[in-house]
């Protein structure tokens, strides 16, 4: 048995967060020495990150410009069968989640998506957010292979360590061996990539980011948030996806799995409930403060400080207080 890690692709290169999957694989393997394979879904992507070149690597002979989810998932299923993979794991990103669940069809297996924790004591249990993040769902599957997508930011990046021989030793003989698997021409599509130029780097540069959720109610009400942000030098305003869908903020200000990941010194979540989609984008923030009138809001589970208040009463009072200082 072995673990098959699917490299995620971002901007035509391997997403550095793929390194988190090696840590997840270690949790799955626990004390049992388990070979790990890395599968790169396209053969023309740049390999720039430190993704552990010591593991056996399989490259799918498909250009990213010929991407086809159906062909890719079938190819991965056949490889997984050949190497007897008991676990197939990928990152939960728009790129990978497009084809990962389809692998399960070939096995009548189940795909567990958006896993944020893997528990390995007596049983191996995958934990994912459900019910809009208000509950965690624990899933335990007997059948193999188990296919899972892991929410980015859930595991630390794997850093190779001399004392760690749980994975390395068994696969020394296969170092850097690359296998190419090709995909039938009939299954290739002609893809173009569209990159929106974004000169807005405010979210990368800000020391403090004020995030706003649907609870703000209207574009006009955003004035309150802008005034709040003005108190802080080097601040920026960001939003959840729905706020951008409504056109209240541009998509360049969207934070979450389908938007930006941010790492400011302080993030203040205003009226944001904290879906797993949003939370995945704010894990890099050093201090997270949540202001929400619902004390059950999942955002408080990952916050350092919580203020249970309605933003429409609390923020004006805060502004008033600062003015008087």
């Amino acid at each position: 048995m072995c673990i098959l890690i699917i490299a995620d692709i971002k901007n035509n290169q391997i997403n550095p967060a793929t390194a988190e999957l090696f840590t997840a694989a270690n949790t799955i393997a626990k004390d049992i020495i388990t070979p790990v394979y890395l599968l790169i879904p396209c053969n023309d992507v740049k390999i720039t990150s430190n993704y552990r070149p010591d593991v056996k690597t399989i490259v799918i002979g498909m250009s990213i410009y010929n991407y086809n989810a159906q062909g890719l998932s079938k190819a991965i299923a056949s490889i997984a069968h050949d190497i007897d993979a008991h676990y197939i794991i990928g990152l939960h990103t728009p790129f990978t989640i497009d084809f990962l669940p389809s692998i399960s069809i070939e096995y009548n297996a189940h795909c567990i998506t958006q896993v944020h924790t893997i528990q390995h004591d007596e049983h191996l249990t995958f934990v994912r957010g459900s019910c809009s993040g208000k509950l965690d769902q624990y899933i335990d599957i007997d059948n193999k292979p188990v296919i899972a997508s892991i929410a980015p930011g859930s595991f630390d990046e794997y850093i190779a360590d001399d004392t760690d021989n749980s994975i390395n030793d068994t696969i020394n003989d296969t170092i850097n061996e690359v296998t190419q698997i090709t995909i039938a021409a009939a299954e290739k599509q002609l893809c173009t990539f569209i990159t929106k130029e974004n000169k807005d780097s405010s979210l990368d540069e800000a020391d403090i980011i004020i995030g706003v959720g649907k609870g703000i109610g209207s574009k006009d009400n955003l004035t309150l948030i802008y005034n709040f942000a003005k108190i802080f030098p080097h601040s920026a305003v960001a939003g959840s996806r729905i706020v951008c869908d409504y056109g209240w903020l541009p998509y360049s200000k969207q934070v979450g799995i389908t938007g930006k990941s941010i790492a400011p010194r302080v993030y203040i979540a205003c009226a944001i409930s904290g879906s797993s989609q949003h939370i995945a984008g704010i894990k890099g923030a050093k201090t997270i403060i949540a202001i929400n009138k619902d004390n059950d809001a999942p955002i408080f589970n990952i916050s350092h400080y919580g203020v249970v208040e309605d933003i429409f009463t609390f923020i004006p009072q805060f502004l008033e207080y600062v003015k008087r200082l």
């Binding site: 990539f193 990159t195 020391d207 649907k214 938007g259 589970n301 249970v308 600062v322």
Partner: protein, 254 residues
Amino acid sequence: MSIPYKILVCIKQVPDANAKIYLEKTKPHYDEKTVYVINRYDEYALEEALQLKDKGLTHYIHTISAGPDRIQKALRRSLEMGADEAYHIVTGDDDCAIPYYVAQCITDFAKNEYDIILTGVMSQDAMNQQTGQLIASMLGYNYATGVTGIQTNNDVITVTRELDAQTSMQYALKIPCVIAVQSSSIIPRYPSLSNVLRAKKQHIGMIKPIMSSQVQYHSFYTIPQKTTECEFIQGRTDQKVVELYKILHRNAVV
């Protein structure tokens, strides 16, 4: 398999964002006052179908949903928005249905009847994000997920798939296909009065689900563990204001 397209839109009824949830033993339980709505991403999927109808590319939009009797409200709403027929796969009141099973039920209903099957990219409650992929793979159709744009040119459907805030991918999908729609700046429409009146009289087709799936797992639910010990700022509002200011000061942002 050409214009006018036969379209199926898969919708899920979900508790609205403010619903209070409880644990009943190890299963989620919503209180009786819970308001149920159409999953937000499925509304975008339906809107995409309705825009194809506006362009004269279809006059055949069916909606389908699996669940207990209460989901008929969501199906009725889809008719009010402009769907032509609605079908209800009658399953139990199980908020934790396994996506594989739901996909099997829909696949069994859809068979080879539709040119385009639309779904939301995920449900806002369970967030499994895989039903569209599973339906496509079970039927052997081409598909795309995270779609924020659908362009049509005769028999060619070109989708725009969002990869992140900056990057999208575009390609043509051969029909029949499955498209899982991501929310975007198009606003799903409100029902028109004429559609509301028409929908009142419409019959919703009842469909028997397939026998239970061979794909099973053990699952239970808990209140999420906190990854940080959140320090709740206590006191009256004005005291909280002062306390928050101090915290921000300590973190050197003011």
